[in-house]
Amino acid sequence: MTDPKTLSPPSLETHVAEHDETFLDANELVINMGPQHPATHGVLRVILRLDGEKVMGLECVIGYLHRGVEKIGENRTYTMFNPYVDRMDYVAAVSNGLGYCEAVEKLLSVEAPPRAQYVRVILTELNRISSHQLWLGTHALDIGAITPLFYTFRDREEILKIFEKYCGARLTTHAFRIGGLQYEVYDGFERDVKNFVSFVKPKIDEYEGLLTTNRIWLERTKGVGVISGKDCIALGVTGPVLRASGVKWDIRKAQPYANYKNFDFEIPIGLNGDTYDRYLVRMVEMRQSLRIIEQAVAGIPEGPIMAKVPKVMKPPVGEIYHSIEAPKGELGYFIVSDGSTQPYRMRVRPPSFVNLQALDIMCRGQLVADVIAVIGTLDIVLGEVDR
């Protein structure tokens, strides 16, 4: 699993020692980055303790976007809460919906029919690509390359068009229902998806052409924000960040859900756990998602799209934890049912929130400019961090 030789980020003590040897003993500077800062991806506030430009430590202040999603969940019926989950990670709304629907289905002991599961996989993987594209664009923008942003947005548009055609919404899709799908796929869905796959493959090469071997990109990302697999596990970091640190952990393979065991795909892992590896891992993931989509589109079975679920859902008393591999990491739903129409307790385990904890350990000893790169590479969405 974890490579013992992986670099562990230096501890605080060594940094204090280094601090003493700096050129001019200026006072330690405390800088507030955000919540209104162009590079904090929303309303994240980071309090940086700086020595010159070197980060001695940082603290994330979150909650500026808190809407009490979990509390809302406890005051709505299971069906009513479904659209709310789209508002957490709004760039990967489909994944959120998938996780929630599957969790409730598990609680109800129903299973979506195969056709629905195939469509779910296609849409979720499309969503993973669009989420990664958005990440790539903004991450590159933070590092100073402005052009990839426009390329990725251009191509992401095609995915959003498919979503819009399917369910009428582009961002907060509310695509799935508990027990399957509400809508049958539209005519030409398969064709659209196939066209998209063949359209986006050269585009991913295009992004890589701009960045992968770009010297400045290499210098800015290699060895920046290193985190070891051990630290990742200790902090509960999941998703591409974990995989880039050399831990082969993907819930799609480890605890297959929604038919993923029927598809053939690889899990990319990195070696060094730095920003560049995370970049590469996500690029490969996009290609792997395309592979899954190709297989799924080829094999969509005929049949019903909705399992038999009661009109008024009253799951049996009990609790359930169900997690899926969202684009950003493990997205889990913990639902406690007291047998009524509303959950007794609803808890979401958002990947961004947990991954954000690693920011401090990844940034210590790096420069301010690296903090920007690391925030970008963690791929956080504040809507999900604050919920």
Partner: protein, 430 residues
């Protein structure tokens, strides 16, 4: 009236710059011309940058103000001029007020010695290139004081970064320049020159642009300069001082309106200034391509047609786009405007074919064309490269460019010293 025309003609036929002739009237005229021309160039550059960058990034860029956004820079300028001039309460008022003017003055004063042609320079100084480097380095002062006077964290860090960057890259830049000055001394007298016009004349006399001299030494020196000049003007990929993802807008974060536009103006004219240094030193300044190889009256005529043809081409583009305009009544004014612009460009093109004009503007055209190529490169860099980190930027400056610059300088000196004897020796044994 006739006397006036005669006076102008006699002046135009002299081969001295107004400064050298001590003619203050023409010097003033030239100063005004350069000032106006520079402002127009900055405005064009503004539009072109937005347009080219937009097309690189699959966007359209400004399209609303005027046909294809042609009037956008003017609208921007008006907006900036009419904006409220905010001075932060805790700022050092005087310094805050003066800083942008220092930057602008430094950026504009440099153009006193830029040779747009053998006679088209305000003056030719004995210390031309030294003067250019010195005065352009003064803009550091404006940036530092601007950052300090804002009395705010981000501008201060931006200013410190910016000045550290400019000071370090000046060293590499200077070394690259010195190797060119060495090359100018390869003549009968054995003395080089610092004069901008003298440097171009030396390239003419030696029959090659200095970028090809002692291949690849000239090319490497040019490459060092080309990197250093991007860093010197704080442009991508060295635009750390204004890295918006880190420092908001760097040293001019607290500036707005007119004062901000001065920084903008200074940045772009500094870009033009350093590009003109590069063009003068390595790319033969005002010399047309192949002045020695393709010499003679016929070739002179052919090359002198280029300026007019360039403008006619632009006019043709305008008319092409007029034809492509949607035939909707709402687009009527835009279509007429674009056609009018095309007509103006075409007229300029036609005027440039008049023999008297043609002979005088050829050098200006070639100089501007070469500078324009650099301007395009600036935009291209910005569309392509991510941004360096500060320590990496310093590393590139001190650990890569500086040693390379020293090596090139020493090798150039050695080559210049030994070349004649080696040549003699070769001739002797062959």
């Amino acid at each position: 009236m006739g006397a006036l025309v005669q006076y102008i003609q006699s002046y135009l036929s002299s081969d001295l710059t107004p400064g050298a002739a001590g003619n203050w009237f023409w010097a003033t005229v030239y100063v005004l011309l350069v000032f106006v021309g520079l402002s127009v160039a900055v405005i064009c550059m503004n539009w072109l940058e937005r347009k080219i960058l937009a097309h690189m990034q699959v966007r359209l860029g400004p399209m609303r103000v005027g046909p294809h956004g042609l009037l956008q820079p003017i609208a921007d300028a008006l907006k900036l001029l009419l904006k409220e001039d905010i001075i932060p309460a805790e700022a050092d008022k005087i310094v805050f007020w003066v800083a942008p003017f220092i930057v602008v003055l430094a950026a504009f004063t440099v153009f006193v010695v830029v040779p747009f042609g053998p006679t088209h320079a305000i003056t030719d100084m004995n210390i031309g290139i030294l003067f250019m480097l010195g005065v352009s380095s003064l803009s550091v002062l404006g940036i530092v004081t601007a950052g300090w006077a804002s009395n705010s964290h981000y501008p201060l860090i931006g200013a410190l970064r910016s000045s550290a960057q400019m000071v370090s890259y000046e060293v590499a830049m200077g070394l690259a320049v010195v190797s060119v000055i060495l090359m100018t001394s390869l003549n009968a007298e054995g003395t080089g020159t610092l004069s901008m016009i003298g440097i171009v004349r030396a390239q003419q006399a030696q029959g090659m642009w200095f970028i090809f001299k002692f291949f690849p030494l000239g090319l490497i020196a040019f490459a060092i300069f080309a990197v250093a000049m991007v860093a010197e003007t704080n442009r991508a990929p060295f635009d750390l001082p204004e890295a918006e993802s880190e420092l908001t807008a760097g040293f001019h974060t607290e500036y707005s309106g007119f004062r901000w536009s001065l920084f903008f103006l200074a940045e772009y004219s500094a870009m033009i200034a350093v590009s003109s240094i590069a063009v003068t030193l390595w790319l033969g300044g005002w010399l047309r391509p192949f002045p020695n190889l393709l010499s003679g009256a016929t070739w002179d005529l052919v090359f002198s047609l280029f300026p007019g043809l360039a403008f006619l081409f632009l006019a043709g583009m305008c008319f092409f786009n007029v034809a492509r305009m949607p035939k909707h009544p709402l687009f009527k004014i835009q279509t007429i405007g674009l056609a009018g612009f095309g007509v103006v460009l075409g007229l300029i093109g036609v005027i440039l074919f008049v023999p008297l004009v043609r002979d005088r503007v050829g050098d200006i055209f070639w100089f501007s064309a070469k500078v324009a190529a650099f301007m395009y490169l600036y935009i291209w860099y910005r569309g392509t490269f991510p941004r360096y980190r500060f320590d990496q930027l310093m590393k590139v400056g001190w650990k890569v460019l500086l040693p390379t610059g020293f090596a090139v300088l020493i090798l150039t000196a050695a080559t210049a010293f030994f070349e004649p004897s080696v040549e003699q020796w070769l001739r002797h044994i062959l």
